[in-house]
């Protein structure tokens, strides 16, 4: 199959155009709530403690701290050793908590520079501990060296190791240098996921440990790869931009981009592929500070006053 190439100048311009849509208050309210329901609330630090993860889970189940009627976020995203703590904490929070998924970053996150055996064992452990979703990193070194077969193999084996858990493949676009590489890596990951029979799988921009993390042009290129795959095969792949999305405004820009790239497929009406792409099943934001900004903006729309930094608890 000939490789798709990307016109970098036009990708930048097209991505920038999504930030200039006029959005009326009513649509904005719906968009902010939708964005909140799509967040993978994330903590990925060496200093993460079980109590920090429990606190994150409370925030995930009720982002507005009981002061606003808000949807729970889609998932909490933690290191594999804390997946069990997260699952336990969420289950203890009742029906709101049980609806929140646990995502664990595995496969030697964030570098991926470990033997495949170790990385697969990492995945299996996380799934056993209760992770519903696995965020894996590809071997960027192998990809950049042109060893596409190794990358494809690793993804296929990780799909198998996941079992029932859904897989998200992190391309770490900040290390891929060009948009052409981003497109090639996206196509490769999608092809590998499809070939291995993965269900509900995602491609994801970044670990959040490398700058630049998610940017709009990069996300656009990945969304276009998902669109082209859907048009060719009729099968859906999810998208997760992660890192650097901190404000509600940015999140709305991403939703506009999602809508105009995937949301319009099959007309976008109820039951269409477009409508499916516009749900947390197929789109996520990897973020942490974003949640409180979404809460503040929703509060502004509902109460007509700007909120203080202390009005919503830190996760």
């Amino acid at each position: 199959m000939p490789r798709a190439t990307v016109d970098a100048v036009m990708a930048e311009q097209r991505a920038a155009s999504f930030t200039r849509r006029s959005i009326k208050a009513e649509s904005k309210g719906a968009a902010l709530r939708l964005a909140l329901s799509m967040v993978d609330l994330t903590t990925l630090e060496g200093k993460d403690t079980p109590e920090k993860v429990r606190s994150l889970c409370r925030k995930a189940a009720d982002p507005g701290d009981g002061t606003l009627d808000l949807p729970a976020v889609a998932a909490v995203c933690v290191y594999p050793t804390l997946a069990g703590v997260a699952r336990g904490a969420l289950d203890a929070l009742g029906s709101r908590g049980r609806g929140v998924k646990v995502a664990a970053v595995a496969t030697g996150f964030p570098s991926g520079q470990y033997p495949l055996k170790v990385r697969l064992a990492d995945v299996r452990r996380a799934v056993e501990a209760g992770a519903d979703e696995i965020d894996m990193v590809i071997s960027r070194g192998a990809f950049l060296a042109g060893d596409r077969r190794r990358v494809r193999e690793e993804i296929a084996q990780t799909v198998e190791a996941c079992g029932r858990a859904h897989l998200k493949v992190i391309l770490e676009t900040g290390e891929l240098e060009t948009l052409d590489n981003v497109r090639a890596a996206s196509d490769l990951a999608i092809e590998a996921l499809d070939g291995a029979g993965a269900h509900g799988a995602f491609i994801k921009t970044s670990t959040g440990k490398v700058e630049p993390a998610a940017t709009m042009p990069v996300t656009l290129v990945m969304l276009e790869a998902i669109r082209d795959h859907y048009l060719a095969t009729g099968r859906l792949i999810g998208m997760k931009p992660a890192g650097g999305i901190r404000t509600a405004k940015q999140a709305v820009h991403y939703l506009v981009m999602l809508h105009e790239t995937l949301g319009v497929l099959e007309g976008g009406g109820p039951g269409s592929a477009g409508a499916k792409f516009m749900t947390p099943d197929w789109f996520r934001f990897g973020a942490s500070a974003l949640v409180n900004d979404l809460c503040r903006q929703i509060a502004w729309l509902e109460r007509g006053r700007y909120m203080a930094r202390y009005d919503f608890a830190e996760a």
């Binding site: 007509g304 006053r305 700007y306 909120m307 203080a308 930094r309 009005d311």
Partner: protein, 290 residues
């Protein structure tokens, strides 16, 4: 040909140490006393206000932790810069402001404003000793009360005496380590050029933010804003005072509403009574030891 096109200035807002136009794109013509166009000014929107509060909050940590000595030095430098821009201020005040009855003329207004900055530059490392104290307790420890800055303070200026009123209200608030978002309905040209004074005085960006435009439009949002810790207003119309009282009640902001201030009265305007409304008192016990 000696005629050349006049370079009419666009007087911008001052937010986070930068001079942005209003995000709303709105501007107004500044007409001089003789009807000629002096320049254009920005009419700030509530989103500019929101940005200014964010900038003030961000600047608070660094400014309140700076040594009182450094804050005094910077306020003194503001006085120096203001003195250096005397000709520009005098000309703008004369062109854009009708002197209030019995109020200071343009020249006197600049002189008084410089003096006021010098006065509060001096207060910066002395107010603790006047407002704080060692409390008399009959116990084996010291009991000490110290004033600390309140936080982000909104300043609502009166519609005249543009320079002197702004300086008189902002200087005592800033000298203790608070940061300021000021809204002035008075001559926008003068307010904007005062931003240039702040920008060239080593004052960290965001410590003073200046918005020109309609107080009726902006003040209700300032008063309701939950991330603002206090509001200081002078000579506000009664309906605006009402808005301030209603809005500040929501999160119990420190509020100081002054009326009929004689800005030229140095005795009345240089005292710690202008500092006291926007400090918080902290009392600590400290063991005396052996």
């Amino acid at each position: 040909m000696t005629d050349r096109l006049a370079v009419a200035k666009t007087y911008k807002l001052f937010i986070a140490g930068a001079f942005p136009r209003s995000e709303s794109g709105r501007s107004e013509v500044i007409a001089g006393a003789d009807g000629r166009v002096v320049g254009h000014s920005c009419r700030a929107s509530r989103k500019d206000l929101r940005d200014a509060v964010v900038a003030a909050r961000k600047a608070l940590g660094g400014w309140s932790n700076a040594t009182p000595y450094l804050r005094g030095q910077i306020l003194y430098r503001m006085a120096e810069m203001l003195e250096g821009k005397r000709a520009e201020f005098e000309s703008l005040l004369a062109q854009t402001e009708r002197p209030p009855a019995g109020g200071p003329d343009a020249r006197a207004q600049v002189t008084l404003a410089v003096d006021r900055l010098v006065a509060f530059a001096g207060w910066a490392d002395k107010y603790h000793h006047v407002l704080g104290c060692q409390n008399g307790v009959s116990a084996p420890y010291w009991n000490i009360t110290v004033p600390e800055p309140t936080g982000v303070i909104g300043v609502v200026c009166p519609p005249s005496v543009a320079l002197l009123a702004l300086v008189s209200l902002a200087a005592p608030i800033v000298c203790t380590g608070n940061t300021v978002v000021a809204i002035s309905p008075a001559s926008p040209a003068v307010v904007s050029v005062f931003g240039e004074v702040c920008a060239t005085s080593d004052l960290p960006g965001g410590v003073v933010n200046l918005l020109t435009g309609s107080t009726a439009e902006l003040v209700p949002h300032l008063a309701k804003h939950r991330d603002v810790d206090g509001i200081c207003a002078a000579d506000c119309p009664p309906e605006l005072e009402r808005e301030i009282r209603l809005g500040t009640a929501d999160n119990m902001k420190r509020t100081s509403l002054r009326r009929a201030v004689d800005w030229a009265d140095a005795q009345a305007c240089h005292g710690p009574g202008w500092i006291e409304p926007f400090v918080e008192f902290k009392t600590v016990w400290h063991p005396i030891g052996a």
